[in-house]
Every structure is written in structure tokens, then in C-alpha cells.
């Protein structure tokens, strides 16, 4: 579903899927990844743990990360942003919203 909404992005895009936190990190390592859309609820690790790892790594610190979650409360949002999330979106989301945000973050100079 995420892929479908991102299909609206202009320009050619390659999508890489990961079904676990470790796999997400693996994909990042084998990259290059320009944007991460990260779910918080993953089978093996919490999304914020993955985010923490990404932000502490000199090479990947700058990768924009959109956190995607069902929790819409302010505390969760604040926690995610403090952990280094570039953007925070709640599910369900309007199809265009994700694409717009992604487009914005992929533009050079937005980092």
C-alpha cells in the first residue's frame, strides 16, 4: 500500500522492501537508500530502535526517515521526532500525503 501511494512520485523510483527491523538495516547497509519509510510496529525491533541506529551511524545519519504509525498522540510524535525522525505520519493516511512528503524530502536541499 505504501508503494502504491508512493508510485505517484515524479521521476523514476526504486523501492526496496524489508519485513523486519534488521532487514531494514541490512537494506540500508547495502543501499544506497535515499528515503526510509519506517513503521514503528515491527516483529523484531521497534521502529525507534532502528531509527536510533540509523541516526547514530555517521554514514546514514542524513537519510530522511518518515515514521509511519497508528499512534497519533502528541507524546508519540514528540518521541519520534526527538529520536531523529524527519517526518511523522499516522495511518490511515490520505494517499497523496505520503507522496507529497516523500517528494519534499527527496528534493535536494531539503535536508
Amino acid at each position: 500500500m505504501v508503494k502504491a501511494s508512493l508510485a505517484a512520485l515524479s521521476g523514476p523510483c526504486e523501492f526496496v522492501e524489508a519485513s523486519s527491523g534488521l532487514e531494514a538495516i541490512e537494506r540500508l547497509a547495502l543501499g544506497p537508500i535515499e528515503l526510509m519509510v519506517l513503521d514503528l510496529n515491527m516483529p523484531d525491533m521497534h521502529g525507534l530502535e532502528v531509527l536510533g541506529f540509523v541516526r547514530s551511524h555517521s554514514k546514514y545519519r542524513q537519510v530522511p526517515v518518515i515514521i509511519l504509525t497508528t499512534r497519533g498522540d502528541d507524546a508519540s510524535r514528540a518521541a519520534a521526532l526527538e529520536a531523529g525522525a524527519t517526518a511523522y505520519m499516522t495511518k490511515p493516511f490520505a494517499p497523496g500525503t505520503l507522496a507529497t512528503k516523500a517528494q519534499e524530502l527527496l528534493e535536494p536541499g531539503s535536508r
Binding site: S20, L22, E23, I25, A29, D44
Partner: protein
């Protein structure tokens, strides 16, 4: 037939070097495991792999000494790994001695010398390894292999593995089949490489484990006492194999050839440029534009090509710095001092050639720092310092230069002692002895701070040779020292060895090249504006008096008197000085060729080049010329206040 064997041997030696580097580095880390019932498994694993590989390749070329030594080292390490013997300082020492012997043996084979006698080292290693037939000695902690033991598995992902369908989730699934996974975390290794560390309880079969290695999974047992927490140090060790996947080993000689070819291309393009410029008047302007554009594009593309090849030759300074802790450790022990080594900027990249040429000078300065600069524990405590001395190595790149610094927090240089020594050696002592002067004195051939019998810092490599080596590379040394606080040596080296931008100048009937990087400005002087004083000549430059040096004097070239002259403004020891020539005739990209033969190695000449007409043109070392002027004419340059 011989060619094949030669290439094969080259590969062998190259591989040996790689494994030896890993051995040296890992042995140092092994020290932290001394006394524990089981040493850090990642470290032993890496050492083991190295010994095993060395044994294998040595066997292929029938290098018996290496085979046997590596085998004994492997045996001892296996015993340590399985807990049959405890790792002791003596054990690590013997491994280090053996590692040194490995190096010597390889060097001997490389140079076609007699094989080294390794019997004593073998005997020592056998002594500390358990006999094959004996049951584990009682000194080992009982560690019964319960059906479910704690294991660590390090998985290093790679594109190849993904292509084969092996990713971290697959690995996780496999391990889950074997037992319970206790933790699964990402770890960061050398250069930011990412791997995954699983801790699980189970009892995987040896066959299984061996098969896994091919899939990037390396397993080892964990002792309860050993820390399970992930530290970056551990991570670094295990991710060492990550680099081999996407790299090609290249013979430095081939890169030298490439650089030379590019150098020739640069010259050729310059000649083409000259030739075309000569026919400009014959070409219709519409066509001329096209030619101009192509020439510019050609110049740009050549520059990119040149930079591309230069990048290939770049390696991290760490390659040079890696040897230092090893050397320091030995020396510190011999002299009974305690020394820590602090390294920063080791990722700074420099030309591989620089690494090879600077290794000895760096090690020499390091040895000096440890043996003469740093005080013993008692002296340090009495001086209110920490008992452990610190040796700091830094590397940083700025534009076309790379700066390497070696500093110690020891006694600093005893100026009085240096002067006394210099007098004894019959050296001329300047009126004002500053740090530059001290450096000059200690770098003079014939000066030495200890007797020849002082083997700790001797070995025939004095500061004089250090200076020559640095000068050959087109670099400079400077010295800063505070009594009681420490000493710092700074090496400034040009990154681009082969090709550089230069200003071309004429003095009398001769042409010289001056590297653009060393020139602040080019000015025109009216001879009427030169003030003659007792100490020399001065001009007004930007409102301040600046001493001038006529290159016609410095280089003993007859010139005709003129009213207008050109000069290079350069910096000498922080203050500007003007080097006067007849005319600066242009600016060129030049290929720097060394003039290192002793017959033509003179102060003030940094090398030679050709401008495309087959004639050699000397490249001036403006810093040296300015220094010379300061010395011979006693000029004390006026320091700028800005």
C-alpha cells in the same frame, strides 16, 4: 614459466602482507583478553583465520618456515580458544615474537636471502601449547559442554549473499532452528560497515557452522564471563572481511605507469596548446571558437582523469599509523615507560607512495619521542604529570596538502643541550636560536643526541635522513617544543606528487618553475624602490617592509641590470619574503620529476620538469631559498601583525 611464478609469488607476498597486517592489529587487541578464562572470541577468530590462511598459502609456495610457524601459532591459539590453556602475557609475547619472525621470514624470501631459523620460536610455542595427546591441563577452567551453550554468530551482509537469497532474516531463521535467539543487534565495523550479531543458545554441529561461513555467518562459543555487550571495538574486528568483496588489488607500479602516461599527456596537450596558439592568426574566428572550446574541454578532461587516477592511489593514513602502536609498545617496554598512543584523522587519505616513503621517518620520530621525549613513570609523577605518557598522531588534509603531526607530552627539547651538542659537532650556531633553528641543527648530518651505541633510537636513520626524505617529497617539517610540556613535529606534504601548477620565471638566461601553491603573490618591482640596508635589501609590500632575495645571487646566475623586475612573494617562517627574478613569463601545469640523485640534490631545488621542448627546467624550492637567505644574510623577517 618464470613469469607465471613471479606473478604468483607477487600475489603470495601481497596476501601475506594483508594477513600480517591483520595479525599485528589483532595481537594488540588480544592483550585485553589476557588472564580471562576465554579470550574475546571475535579476536581469536580473526587471528585464527589469519594464521590458517597464512599456513595455506605458504604451503602452496612451499615456504616451510611460514607453514610451520603459522601452524604452531594456530595450535596454541586453538588451545586458548577451547579453554585448554589460559592466555598469558608470555603467551601473547611469544605470539608477537613469532609474528615478527613471520615478517622476517617473508622479507628474507622476498629478497632471496637465506631462510630464517625458526626452531627456537617453534620450541617456545610448543612449550606453551598442550600436547595433542594430553587431556586438557588442570589449569583450564572446567567448562562442560552442556547441550545448549551460548553462541555468538556474526553475519555480514553483502550484495552477493542477497543475490543468493541469503539475508539477515534467513540467517535469523536458521539460527532459530538451532536454538533460542537471545539477542540480535546491528553492529558497526571498520569504515562504517554494518554487520549483525546474534547471541543464541544451542549446539550447532561443526559441519553446519563451517557451511555457514560461506554464507557470511561466523559462529563462536561464548564464555559466561566474557562480556556479551556489543562494543565498537569488537565490531571493528569482525567486519574486517567486508572490504574484500568490491575491491581489486593493484600493483603500485601499474599506477605509477598510469600517472606517468597522464603526465606525458599533460605535456603533450600543453605543446599542442602552444602550437595552436601560434597559428591563431591564420584561422578564421568562427573556427577558432571551436578549437578553443575543444582545447579547454581537453584540459578539463585531462585534469579529471589525473584526479581520478590520483584518487585510486589514495589510501587512508591509518595504513601508516597502524604500525605505530606496535613499535611504541615494544619500545615502552624496553625502556620501562608507559605510553598511550592517540590517533586521529586516520581516515585522511594520502597517496600510497607517500605512505611508503614516510613510514620510516614517522617511525623514527615516534621512536625518538618515546625514548628521548617521554619521561619514565617516576619522573612524570614527580613533575605532576600522569604516569602514562601520551603520543598523539594526527593527520588532516587541506586542499592540496596533507599535514601529519606527531606530538608527545614529554620533556620538550632541551635547547641548551642541543646547542652544546651542535658545538661539539662543529656546527654553526645562529645568533637567535628559535624552533626553526633547533630543527635545522638536529637535522644536520653529524648531529646526534646519543652515542652510536644507543640502539633504541639509532639504526642509521637520523633526523637528517628524515628531512631529506620529506624534502624529496616536496614537503616541509616544522617543530614546536615547550620545555616540560612536550614536543610536536609537523610534516606538511603535497598530496599531488606528480602534477602541479607552476609559475614560470626567467633569471638571466635560465628558466625556472615555481610551484604556485608556495607563492602568495607575483609583483612588479621598480629597482628604484629597493632600499639597501646593512643586512640586505628591502621593498615596501602592502605598506610593510619586506626583505628581498635576488635569485640571481642565490643561484649564482649573471644578469643584466634592469629597472623593472618581477618578484614572488612567499612565506618563510610565517613572514613574507620577496624572491626577485627578471620576469615571470607564464603559468603552466608541470609534471614534477624528482632530482633525488645525490649528485644533484641541492638546497633550493625541489625537482625538475620539462616545458615540452625537451629541455630540463629546475623547480625551485622557495621555502628553502628563503631559509637560506635568512641564514646567510642574517635577515630576520618582519612579522606581520595581521
Amino acid at each position: 614459466m618464470t613469469d607465471f611464478l613471479d606473478t604468483f609469488l607477487d600475489d603470495y607476498f601481497a596476501e601475506c602482507d594483508e594477513h600480517l597486517t591483520a595479525v599485528r592489529r589483532t595481537l594488540l587487541a588480544l592483550e585485553s583478553s589476557i588472564g580471562r578464562s576465554r579470550p574475546d572470541p571475535t579476536i581469536t577468530e580473526e587471528l585464527f583465520r589469519a594464521f590458517h590462511s597464512l599456513k595455506g598459502i605458504a604451503g602452496m609456495v612451499e615456504h616451510r618456515e611460514i607453514e610451520m610457524l603459522a601452524h604452531e601459532m594456530e595450535t596454541y591459539l586453538r588451545a586458548v580458544r577451547e579453554g585448554e590453556v589460559r592466555l598469558t602475557t608470555a603467551g601473547v609475547d611469544r605470539l608477537m615474537d613469532a609474528a615478527r619472525l613471520l615478517e622476517h621470514s617473508i622479507a628474507a624470501r622476498r629478497q632471496g636471502e637465506q631462510p630464517i631459523d625458526i626452531e627456537p620460536a617453534l620450541a617456545e610455542l610448543r612449550q606453551i601449547s598442550p600436547d595433542e595427546e594430553d587431556s586438557p591441563p588442570s589449569s583450564a577452567l572446567p567448562a562442560p559442554d552442556s547441550p545448549a551453550a551460548s553462541w555468538q554468530c556474526l553475519f555480514t551482509p553483502s550484495p552477493e549473499l542477497i543475490a543468493r537469497g541469503i539475508n539477515v532474516d534467513v540467517v535469523r531463521a536458521r539460527l532459530r532452528e538451532q536454538g533460542d535467539i537471545i539477542s540480535a543487534l546491528p553492529v558497526v565495523g571498520d569504515g562504517g560497515a554494518i554487520a549483525f550479531r546474534f547471541v543464541f543458545e544451542g549446539n550447532p554441529e561443526i559441519a553446519e557452522r563451517d557451511a555457514w561461513v560461506a554464507d557470511g555467518m561466523v559462529c563462536s562459543k561464548i564464555d559466561d564471563a566474557a562480556p556479551v555487550a556489543v562494543s565498537t571495538v569488537v565490531g571493528e574486528r569482525s567486519a574486517a572481511t567486508l572490504s574484500s568483496a568490491n575491491h581489486v588489488r593493484v600493483d603500485l607500479a601499474r599506477l605509477d605507469d598510469l600517472m606517468r602516461m597522464i603526465g606525458d599527456l599533460v605535456i603533450r596537450r600543453a605543446r599542442l596548446g602552444d602550437a595552436i596558439a601560434r597559428v591563431e592568426s591564420l584561422v578564421p574566428s568562427t573556427d577558432w571558437r571551436g578549437i578553443q572550446e575543444n582545447m579547454s574541454a581537453l584540459e578539463r578532461q585531462l585534469r579529471e582523469l589525473r584526479e581520478g587516477v590520483m584518487r585510486v592511489r589514495l589510501v587512508p593514513v591509518a595504513e601508516m599509523f597502524r604500525r605505530v602502536p606496535f613499535v611504541v609498545r615494544d619500545l615502552a617496554r624496553e625502556t620501562g615507560k608507559r605510553v598511550t598512543v592517540d590517533v586521529s584523522g586516520e581516515a585522511t587519505e594520502i597517496d600510497k607512495f607517500l605512505v611508503e616513503r614516510m613510514l620510516d621517518p614517522v617511525l623514527h620520530v615516534v621512536r625518538n619521542a618515546v625514548s628521548h621525549g617521554l619521561e619514565g613513570v617516576d619522573e612524570r609523577i614527580a613533575a605532576g604529570k600522569s604516569p602514562e605518557g601520551t603520543l598523539t598522531l594526527t593527520a588532516a588534509a587541506a586542499g592540496e596538502m596533507v599535514t601529519i603531526q606527531i606530538a608527545d607530552d614529554g620533556r620538550g627539547i632541551d635547547t641548551a643541550r642541543v646547542i652544546a651538542r651542535a658545538r661539539v659537532a662543529g656546527l654553526a650556531i645562529p645568533a637567535h636560536v628559535d624552533e626553526a633553528a633547533i630543527l635545522e641543527l638536529i637535522s644536520s648530518p653529524g648531529f646526534s643526541t646519543r652515542d652510536a651505541s644507543d640502539r633504541v633510537s639509532g639504526r642509521g636513520f637520523g633526523m637528517a635522513v628524515v628531512r631529506t626524505r620529506v624534502q624529496e617529497l616536496g614537503g616541509a617539517i616544522s617543530l614546536a617544543s615547550t620545555p616540560g610540556q612536550g614536543t610536536r613535529f609537523t610534516f606538511d606534504l603535497p598530496l599531488t606528487l606528480a602534477i602541479t601548477d607552476a609559475l614560470i620565471a626567467r633569471v638571466g638566461g635560465e628558466t625556472f618553475a615555481v610551484p604556485q601553491a608556495s607563492v602568495r603573490e607575483v609583483i612588479e618591482i621598480n629597482t628604484g624602490g629597493i632600499h639597501a640596508l646593512e643586512t640586505g635589501e628591502l621593498i615596501q609590500y602592502r605598506g610593510a617592509p619586506v626583505p628581498i632575495v635576488r635569485l640571481s645571487d642565490a643561484l649564482a646566475i649573471p644578469v643584466r641590470p634592469a629597472t623593472r623586475l618581477h618578484a614572488f612573494i612567499v612565506n618563510a617562517a610565517g613572514a613574507p619574503i620577496a624572491l626577485v627574478v627578471d620576469r615571470v613569463v607564464g603559468q603552466r601545469e608541470i609534471v614534477v620529476r624528482t632530482t633525488s640523485d645525490p649528485l644533484i640534490r641541492v638546497d633550493g631545488i625541489a625537482g625538475a620538469t620539462d616545458l615540452g621542448d625537451g629541455r630540463a627546467v629546475l623547480i625551485l624550492d622557495v621555502a628553502a631559498l628563503a631559509r637560506q637567505a635568512r641564514r646567510t644574510r642574517g635577515i630576520v623577517p618582519v612579522r606581520e601583525t595581521a
